[in-house]
Symmetry: C2
Subunit: 324 residues, 2 copies
């Protein structure tokens, strides 16, 4: 079955990763291999920087998520944060904590998944760190992006009366996780949503560039949580139309769509007067569904309308409360 | 004894950390709290970016390293990487993986240690991530800095005939770790070197600004490893004078100085013709000892001179080979 991580050693592992990284663009002055990477800033832009980690036993289970899935997803969740700010991806650092007995072939597969997405998203791996883990596999990624200063998408920009929109569909990742727990070899569309979320990089950039959205977040912890994030940051409430929610593959009920995590869709608000700008963005992103699901209100309550009745919007997923 | 991490939950923990962060400077356009941080680049500089993690059971043992020590050290090792590039510290992201049963008071102490050093080093905590760990405590930091493009210190700039210098003293951290393993309550100078390494931030910046050094690394894995890093990157060898090595507190023999990790001193090469520039840097950094310990050679071998005899330079510390 080949070497393990501890048999190869740190230096050889770093060389193995470096050899896989495509030739960097000219703005990478010093790439992986020195004490730190050195990057030329992009003119007339500001820098967006974020970090997010995947921890075995908390964010994934190796029984039904492959090393390539983990590599893809660890980068995808960071790209999703950049997309929610309207930023173009630029550079990534990869901090790996590897169990000593992990096969090197798994590391290769993890890099396959990550570098494939990195190539498509045009983000450049410029460095990182590698160390032993006494327990779980941990993949921690830091991602940077660039955005024009006046094109930044924040959570706090919503106004009362704004319409709420969501990209793609909701609840598919939660439904996929349920399916995978029952059948770890499941290859349904829902399980793919869970294992390989597709960050909405291009759509986020288009939303920012066209100034079509007033506020935006990515949905890591469910729609209900995302609505609250925008509402609380903007000092507003919201009413969500349960019948309008675009349910993802394999989603049976509303619960997955409202409280299921890890869809990594974009939730954003649009002024009714600027609907035309959104129309322009939608034409440019022609294959990505965009659905209006509610509106922001001046009253600071979060409500769900269903069958003509109104009830409180449930709360979202809490990372510390329950393992996925 | 107070709350545990899991009792407080993710949101409350993030708020607790945010409340501790000093008011950011104007170049922080968006700080902690949105999907990502947004930073204004510094004019006429390039960006240096690095990441390094401390993993419980690999890099530290809670029996003799306090949470405040861990907070200090997790930032210090990243600041040391910036110093080795000649960069001025700027922004940091903190990615925490916390055992569910960890006391919140320990998190507060970890932040005490980190924010105290951050204030002194003038690095601004702009964001991060927090998640549960099913096992070890992990503190992963990403740090950015700035440097003028022609002032960057690389490993690869050494030339044959360059003199090799080291800041401070060697082996103290390894001696301190041995002491702490024997007596976890030890408060010697050596144990302080292990628990609270002082990054050579100012000296690294001075070296770069004055163009006094041709190549530089920080010593995380021992002097012998650092000498090899510069030699291999520059296509050279080196001869080290064993009698010249500045031994740290509690260091009995050469082994700690050569192969003991975690001193976080700077190792750099200077052209004999530019010794005067180094003199200027030393005057500005008057309280930090700087010692000449050998020279770079065109022959690609790494040698140690001792009692008039020459032997091969031992190899450095390997992270995957043995736990510290």
């Amino acid at each position: 079955v080949g070497d393990t991580i501890s048999a190869l050693g740190e230096r050889a592992l770093i060389e193995r990763i470096r050899a896989r990284i495509p030739k960097p663009p000219p703005w990478v002055i010093v790439g992986a291999g020195d004490d730190a990477a050195v990057l030329e800033p992009e003119r007339n832009t500001v820098e967006v920087i974020t970090t997010d980690a995947l921890v075995e036993g908390v964010h994934f289970d190796e029984a039904f998520v492959s090393p390539a899935d983990v590599g893809h997803k660890a980068l995808a969740v960071n790209l999703s944060d950049l997309a929610a700010m309207g930023a173009a991806p630029r550079a990534a650092l990869l901090s790996l904590m590897l169990p000593a007995a992990w096969p090197v072939a798994h590391l290769d597969a993890l890099l396959d998944g990550m570098l494939d997405l990195a190539g498509r998203a045009r983000i450049c791996l410029v460095g990182g760190n590698i160390t032993r883990s006494p327990g779980p596999l941990i993949v921690d990624v830091t991602a940077t992006g660039t955005v024009h200063r006046r094109r930044i998408l924040l959570r706090s920009g919503a106004r009362a009366g704004d319409e709420l929109y969501v990209t793609g569909s909701l609840g598919g990742a939660a439904a996929g996780l349920s399916e995978l727990r029952a059948d770890p070899s499941g290859m349904s569309a829902a399980s793919a949503r869970y294992r390989r979320p597709e960050p909405r990089t291009r759509f986020g950039m288009l939303l920012g560039r066209n100034r079509a959205a007033r506020a935006c977040v990515d949905l890591s912890d469910g729609l209900a949580d995302g609505v609250r994030q925008i509402g609380e940051a903007s000092g507003l409430g919201a009413v969500i139309d349960a019948h309008a929610l675009p349910l993802g593959p394999g989603v049976a009920g509303l619960n997955d769509a409202l409280s299921g995590g890890e869809d990594y869709e974009l939730l954003f608000t649009v002024s009714p007067k600027l609907r035309r700008r959104l129309g322009g963005v939608r034409r440019l992103a022609h294959d990505l569904p965009v659905t209006m699901i509610g509106r922001m209100t001046s009253e600071r309550t979060f409500l769900l309308e269903q069958h003509g009745r109104t009830e409180p919007l449930p709360v979202g997923f809490e990372h510390f409360a329950a393992p996925r």
